[in-house]
């Protein structure tokens, strides 16, 4: 990264240039890479720590509490019970009270964190007696398990990704390389939804998303075997990471097909995936029953096609077509599977035909979005999955990303209000948009939006503002107690559909664009 060039400003005259130099913030170009990356990482850590001070999910809400209690309970289980009992209903492990429903890597992570908590506060993870244990010390310890996981997994992955991106993973102009990387890193690290869910609500999405991000970075820097292994680990941490599987599969298959001995390449990747799987599932591979038990916990189909209000296809159209009433679970499973496959098929085919790193990023977003919109049992927190590749595309599609973040946050608004995280929501939204519009920052290309289009686009935005306030202040009518939730869901769904159509279109246009320029991709 060239450090000696003058900062470029739009005005050419020296007075304006000098004035801009007088207002130079520390991360403006020329910015030394290592200290600036450290600065941004520390700022991201600060924001996370501050959000952690706020309440967690289910705070004080006996008897069931929330996700915080679930994670604490899993630490208790994995610490005290043998592996054969983790997914089985036993006298010590009541599956009805927050049974484990993530794959084994989550369980190992709970075991590790549980042993750390046990070392300083055994009462918090004592078998059976620690149900509903809440104290300032245990909150501090558990919050730090999330913070440390974030620091150890997500941050290095983000740094690797930005490095791989700028080193030629994606075609970047010299100016983007010099000036854009700080903004991109900030966009990836200071992602409001991720911070609010992981460090507010309390979850460990940073681990599975971090592993996925590492896999993406691996693909970009041509370390495909490492990428395959990391992605398998991600799937084994949270099965929702499967949302990205078609994108990885399509892109890697496309790349393999373009090489000299495709079968060998595919087999190498296959061995890597199977090897990693075997390593993680080792304790459960001794019998068919044991493995099946785990899988049964991972896919709870009996919970229905949707739960609560989530901005996806099934829930939004359920106002008109009552899916749950018309169809039984089996046909609904089939319908959602076919809809999902149909939705990600174009993106998948494009990557198999002409794989490219940029197309891979688009494909990740399109695949995860198709799963979010059409899959079975989607939660509102799953919006984090399409958000990750969207943040990676932030330099290419800045307006799309800003728009998406706003509505993704809005789609989680009811959850945020339930968790009393409103203050943190406002602060994160504010901080995100300040960084997004930071002075001297790089917003890349700007879409030419006509006046009429601007009016149309501002309509959902204004509606969202009105809903933000009315959700809190106004009582919904007795006949429709979830009126505001439904309205929020509709608005977000409409915006998500527009976004995914746009990104699918962009991915298809990549083919024609590269063909017209005659770029040869070196694979």
């Amino acid at each position: 990264m060239a450090k000696l060039r003058k900062p470029r400003t739009s005005a050419v005259d020296p007075a304006a240039a000098a004035a801009a130099a007088a207002a130079r913030l520390p991360w403006h170009p020329p910015a030394p890479p290592v200290p600036t990356a450290l600065l941004i990482s520390l700022a991201a850590l600060l924001v996370r720590v501050l959000v952690s001070v706020g309440p967690y999910s289910g705070q004080g809400a006996a008897p069931k509490f929330g996700d915080y209690e679930a994670q604490r309970h899993w630490m208790e289980l994995t610490l005290h019970l043998p592996t054969s009992d983790w997914y089985r209903n036993t006298s010590d492990n009541d599956l009805a009270y927050w049974g484990l429903d993530y794959p084994p890597l989550s369980a190992y992570q709970s075991l590790l964190h549980g042993s750390l908590v046990n070392a300083s506060l055994p009462d918090a993870v004592a078998l059976r007696s620690s149900r509903g244990y809440e104290s300032p010390e245990s909150k501090l310890l558990l919050r730090w398990t999330v913070l440390s996981s974030d620091l150890l997994v997500f941050f290095p992955a983000a740094l690797w990704f930005v490095w791989a991106y700028m080193k030629g993973g994606i075609d970047v102009s010299g100016e983007e390389r010099r000036e854009g990387w700080t903004w991109l890193l900030a966009m990836i690290l200071i992602s409001p939804c991720l911070v609010l869910i992981d460090h507010g609500h309390f979850q460990y999405n940073c681990i599975s998303l971090g592993l996925t991000l590492g896999a993406i970075a691996g693909v970009l820097s041509r370390n495909e075997l490492i990428a395959a292994s990391l992605f398998t680990l991600a799937i084994n941490h949270k099965q929702m990471s499967l949302y990205f599987a078609p994108a990885f599969f399509g892109h890697l298959l496309g790349k393999c097909l373009k090489r000299k001995y495709p079968i060998v390449e595919v087999m190498k990747l296959g061995f890597m995936v199977l090897g990693t799987l075997a390593l993680v599932w080792w304790p459960f591979l001794h019998s068919y029953q044991a493995a099946l038990q785990v899988i049964y916990r991972l896919a709870p189909f009996e919970r229905g096609i949707y739960e609560d209000y989530v901005a996806n296809f099934w829930c939004s159209t359920s106002v008109i077509i009552k899916w749950k009433r018309l169809f039984a679970i089996k046909p609904l499973k089939l319908m959602s599977l076919s809809a999902t496959i149909l939705a990600f098929l174009p993106s998948f085919v494009q990557q198999v035909k002409s794989p490219s790193n940029l197309g891979f990023l688009y494909s990740l977003m399109n695949c995860s979005f198709s799963f979010y919109l059409f899959s079975y049992q989607v939660h509102e927190k799953s919006i984090l999955l399409p958000l990750l590749p969207a943040s990676l595309l932030a330099l290419r599609e800045p307006q799309m990303y800003g728009w998406f973040v706003y509505f993704a946050l809005f789609s989680m608004y009811p959850l945020i209000c339930r968790d009393q995280l409103l203050l943190q929501y406002i602060a994160m939204l504010g901080l995100f948009f300040l960084i997004y519009y930071s002075p001297g920052g790089n917003q890349g290309k700007r879409l030419k939006v006509s006046c009429g289009a601007k009016v149309v686009l501002s309509l959902p935005f204004l509606c969202s503002l009105v809903l933000n306030i009315s959700y809190l202040q106004i009582e919904p009518p007795k006949r429709y107690p979830f009126l505001f939730d439904a309205l929020i869901m509709f608005i977000c769904f409409s915006q998500f559909v527009i976004l995914t159509l746009y990104t699918n279109y962009k991915q298809w246009m990549l083919d024609t664009h590269s063909r017209s320029i005659g770029v040869k991709k070196d694979l």
Binding site: A19, A22, Q424, A427, L434
Partner: protein
């Protein structure tokens, strides 16, 4: 000047906005007893007339800042009844609900706008003075200020803003304005009295001297009357009520002892340590040294300054020592007062 200043201005405003959101995130963090102090003062200045501000003892957090701070508290309490009437009721209830906490935290954030204003003024001039922009940024983002103001709970951002405003005026050569603003700062928090000698010397030499006796005297009268007017605006009501002795006692609580419960890292630490070491040695050597009751490390606040060996330290002593330590700067300010050196 305006067009070339705008990148700096927008960058400073941007930095302030970022700091404001961080302050918002700091709302639910730890707060010290200073929070209760200021909550009580908010209620006190709103609910009771000025006559009773320095005499009310319904809470142990008695008002010990000068009157301008009391007026400031009153101003901040004006919108409070719209939020919650119990915010401004005496006596103050014990455990504050979240709405009270949010309101008070927001008043601190709001008062920081004055700091932003002063920084913007200084930023507009930064290029000419060759002051790096980062320095101004660090004032807005000062971790010490964030920790003391927005966690521990105080209003130093506002007061710093006043100080910087006064310094800006002096830098521009507008001495009268600078002097008046400093006087109002003194009437807000008398802690800033430590800077008063330097101000006095600088203003006396720069503003009054060197223009001939008549003009000089005239200017002295002008400056004097400006400062006197400020002090009058602050203290006049209390002179009228005949409460000046009470006010003085509240403002300068020498009864609290030489060191606070939490020691500040200053010279007296060495003095105390030396005293203890000497006492220990001398006792070993057989001298009969009385062991006093109140101890410095006990965290107790008391009037007696029980030094075993070394002489007792009185307030007058500390005052003289402070003046002595400041002497070099006072001499410099007197001999060669330059606007660009004042900061």
């Amino acid at each position: 000047m305006a067009s070339t200043a705008s990148p700096a201005t927008s960058a400073a405003a941007w930095a302030f906005a970022a700091a404001t959101f961080v302050k918002l995130l700091l709302v639910p963090t730890y707060r010290s007893t200073d929070f209760d102090v200021h909550r009580y003062w908010l209620a006190l200045t709103h609910a009771l007339p000025a006559r009773q501000w320095y005499t009310d003892a319904s809470s142990r957090w008695t008002l010990d800042y000068p009157p301008f701070f009391a007026y400031f508290s009153r101003a901040l309490s004006l919108p409070a009844p719209l939020v919650d009437a119990t915010l401004v009721s005496i006596p103050v209830p014990d455990a504050p609900p979240f709405a009270h906490l949010l309101y008070l935290r927001l008043t601190v954030t709001f008062s920081d706008l004055l700091l932003l204003g002063s920084v913007l003024l200084l930023a507009g001039d930064a290029r000419r003075r060759q002051r790096p922009f980062l320095a101004l940024l660090l004032v807005l983002w000062s971790p010490a200020l964030l920790a003391v103001d927005h966690v521990h709970f105080q209003y130093n951002g506002f007061l710093m803003g006043l100080l910087l405003l006064s310094l800006y005026f002096l830098e521009q050569g507008w001495d009268l304005a600078g002097g008046v603003v400093f006087a109002s700062l003194l009437c807000s928090k008398h802690l800033f009295l430590v800077a008063a000698p330097v101000y006095f010397m600088y203003l006396f030499r720069h503003y009054c001297c060197g223009r001939g006796v008549v003009k000089g005297l005239g200017r002295l009268m002008l400056m004097g009357s400006g400062v006197a007017a400020v002090f009058a605006a602050a203290f006049a009501p209390f002179v009228y009520y005949g409460q000046m002795q009470q006010v003085f006692n509240r403002l300068f609580p020498f009864g609290r002892g030489l060191c606070h419960a939490y020691w500040a890292p200053n010279f007296w630490v060495f003095y105390i340590m030396l005293d203890k070491i000497l006492a220990f040695l001398l006792r070993r050597l057989g001298f009969n040294i009385a062991i006093p009751e109140a101890s410095f490390t006990g965290g107790l606040v008391g009037d007696s300054s029980p030094f075993d060996v070394l002489p007792k330290v009185t307030p007058i002593t500390t005052f003289l020592l402070v003046i002595l330590a400041m002497a070099p700067y006072l001499v410099k300010a007197f001999s060669n007062p330059q606007p660009k050196h004042i900061v």
